[in-house]
């Protein structure tokens, strides 16, 4: 079972996010970059399948040189090989161009299964899994909390949580699975793993290596344009409901929700 995990680097949720002067991007100077948490689920799931069925796990990242650190982290967790798609022309690509570039890198590889996060926790688009599956012309199983490969390795049965119920879907392989929280508990990169990762192969590819034209990606090729980024509104200080008894407090709460907040 050869598995590919697509990996995005996103700002750590602890980082302070500031809107840049251009109004439609963020200041990246002080940002700490980490592996998208949903992609960690993908790495973990791929490793568990490999441990059970054998095969190889390849991690593909797209972005500037710094993404290498996240790829090496995945290698330290136990993945076998890494590929970084790094080309200045890719900067500001939208999900369509990202899917196109990933598909171009994956096409030549021998694969049975692909994992992507259901979304990146930075811009929350949730589109790359779909664009990638489309470019590769294979099924996409999205927002998955459980995946079981059939014994012959030819199909997969997955679960998706829907409104308190579970939807069970079966698909032929190869397919793209986008991961949801609950799929697994990602392992830590162990210290011996970190040392082993140093010696694992990590290839860097440009657009030319992938046979793509710069006009197909980047800012110029965007179908989606970001018009404006605004920080979330300042949270207003809370209000403490006064009252002698719980009944009094409840009545006051209802009055405020009705008269001031106009919610009920």
């Amino acid at each position: 079972m050869n598995i590919i995990v697509c990996l995005k680097q996103v700002p750590d949720t602890d980082s302070q996010i500031k809107v840049a002067p251009d109004g439609n991007s963020i200041v990246t100077d002080d940002v700490k970059w980490v592996m998208n948490p949903y992609d960690e689920f993908g790495v973990e799931e791929a490793l568990q399948i490999k441990e059970k069925m054998g095969g190889e796990v390849t991690v593909i990242g797209l972005g500037p040189k710094r993404v290498t650190e996240s790829i090496r982290t995945a290698l330290a967790m136990g993945a076998d090989k890494g590929i970084l798609i790094n080309d200045p022309a890719l900067e500001n690509s939208d999900a369509l161009a990202t899917g196109r570039a990933l598909a171009a890198a994956i096409k030549g590889l021998d694969y049975d299964l692909i994992f992507t996060g259901q979304r990146g926790v930075d811009d929350d688009m949730g589109l790359v899994g779909a664009t990638l599956a489309e470019f590769l012309d294979i099924p996409q199983l999205s927002i998955i909390v459980k995946a079981e490969i059939s014994e012959d390795g030819k199909s997969v049965k997955v679960n998706r949580a829907v409104e308190g119920q579970t939807l069970v879907i079966e698909s032929s392989l190869p397919a793209v699975i986008t991961t949801q929280k609950g799929l697994n508990e990602p392992r830590y990169a162990s210290l011996p793993g970190i040392m082993k990762a140093k010696k694992k192969p990590l290839e860097e590819k440009t657009l030319a290596d992938l046979g793509l034209d710069p006009s197909q990606v980047g800012e110029g090729a965007r179908k989606l344009k970001i018009m404006e980024l605004t920080p979330p509104p300042q949270r207003e200080t809370g209000k403490i409901i006064e009252g002698e008894t719980p009944e009094e407090k409840a009545a006051e709460l209802v009055r405020l929700l009705h008269e001031e907040a106009k919610l009920i």
């Binding site: 980490v34 290498t68 650190e69 090496r72 982290t73 330290a76 830590y188 990169a189 162990s190 210290l191 011996p192 793993g193 970190i194 040392m195 990762a197 140093k198 200080t237």
Partner: protein, 383 residues
């Protein structure tokens, strides 16, 4: 001059930080309160690879440099002093002497399981009447035939009496040198050897989830091959070990200070008095500024000392400086952190209380602050 860490060191820091926050943080307060050493977190730390970090692969280690070991210790200390103590003592004091001074047979016998964290090893230097004056060791070993017969006791020995402690290295008097001074040698004593008893000590102010023990030797006989390195080299071996150990105590000071700062910054930005977050009052903001400044300086000093060691340059002075300075920086940071938390800072519910207590050991263990100043003064030609 290059101040950047390697990619492996960055990944290591992230990984250990995540581990500490997810696996140790949630249990640290309770373990401290119950004064309990946790075999569960010990097992997890072993699986992550926190033991044997600087040991070569052949003996089951991770073959990392000293900076990496120090970063890992720092990240554990950022969350909990007791666990950092288990790691620092486990590596520097337990594994260190065996790895650096043991013969092939001893290394093969003990290191692989110590490196997975399945077993621990104690370092027995301090005695009731030989603390700062460690050369005044009274524990006696008579080397007779093919045996060493040991009598005496040790005190305050970290990792000395856990269920997984495989043994201890003890500094013993093995005779008198030609110059009339005692001949000191290190001897390996396995747990369970008749005549050897390790007793857990209770009632500590700090490091309450770390194992501290008294060791008693009563006509304890071990084979002659349990001598560590050449006879008479014990004091030198112990001092060498402490040079490295001081770096790990430095890492505990630095990590602890960072933990205090992170908690203080968060709390000061959230706590509102007089209509604004208390961090908006200059007197408090300046405390935070001082903490971050001191942590930065401490980190530079400690990493430089590690760099000297990694590059086989003399580092005794810098190790003493880093141990002393990092401990004192944590002292000031813990003090500020509690102050910024006000009354809540004195309650167990807010971890700065534990950091405030745990800090105190750093001024005392592995050579008191006074002893560090003596070491530095001697090395700069002062004493």
């Amino acid at each position: 001059m290059d101040f950047s860490l390697s990619m492996e060191q960055e990944i290591l820091r992230n990984s250990v930080r995540q581990f500490a926050e997810n696996e140790i943080q949630p249990v640290a307060r309770e373990l401290d309160e119950k004064e309990e050493f946790s075999y569960e977190t010990m097992k997890k730390m072993g699986e992550l690879g926190l033991f044997g970090m600087f040991v070569s692969e052949g003996y089951g280690g991770q073959a990392m440099d000293y900076v990496s070991y120090i970063i890992a210790t720092e990240e554990i200390a950022r969350v909990d002093g007791s666990h950092a103590a288990t790691v620092a003592a486990g590596n520097s004091l337990g594994i260190g002497p065996l790895y650096y001074f043991g013969n092939e047979e001893q290394k093969k016998k003990y290191l692989p399981k110590l490196c997975t964290g399945e077993t621990l090893w104690g370092f027995g230097l301090t005695e009731p009447n030989a603390g700062s004056d460690a050369g005044n060791t009274q524990t006696n070993a008579v080397l007779e035939g093919d045996e060493c017969i040991i009598n005496g006791s040790k005190i305050f020995i970290t990792n000395g009496s856990t269920d997984i402690t495989k043994g201890v290295t003890a500094l013993c008097r093995t005779g008198t040198r030609d110059d009339g001074r005692p001949e000191l040698s290190c001897i390996l004593i396995e747990t369970g050897t008749p005549g050897f008893e390790a007793r857990e000590m209770h009632g500590k102010l700090m490091w309450r989830a770390s194992n501290t023990s008294e060791l008693y030797f009563d006509d304890c006989r071990v084979p002659m091959e349990n001598l560590l390195g050449p006879r008479g080299n014990g004091f030198y071996q112990m001092m060498q070990t402490l040079d490295g150990g001081r770096l790990s105590i430095g890492a505990m000071g630095l990590g602890g200070a960072q933990g205090c700062f992170d908690k203080a910054l968060k709390y000061s930005n959230e706590r509102v008095q007089f209509g604004k977050p208390i961090s908006n009052f200059q007197v408090n903001a300046f405390k935070l500024a001082d903490m971050s400044l001191e942590i930065e300086c401490a980190r530079l000093l400690l990493y430089k000392a590690c760099w000297l060691r990694d590059n086989d340059k003399p580092y005794t002075k810098e190790a003493a400086m880093a141990k002393l300075h990092c401990s004192e920086v944590m002292y000031r940071c813990a003090n500020h952190a509690v102050q910024l938390h006000g009354g809540y800072g004195l309650m167990k519910e807010y971890d700065v209380e534990r950091f405030y207590r745990d800090q105190k050991l750093l001024d005392i263990g592995e050579g008191t602050s006074e002893v560090q100043r003596i070491v530095i003064a001697r090395l700069i030609g002062g004493l």
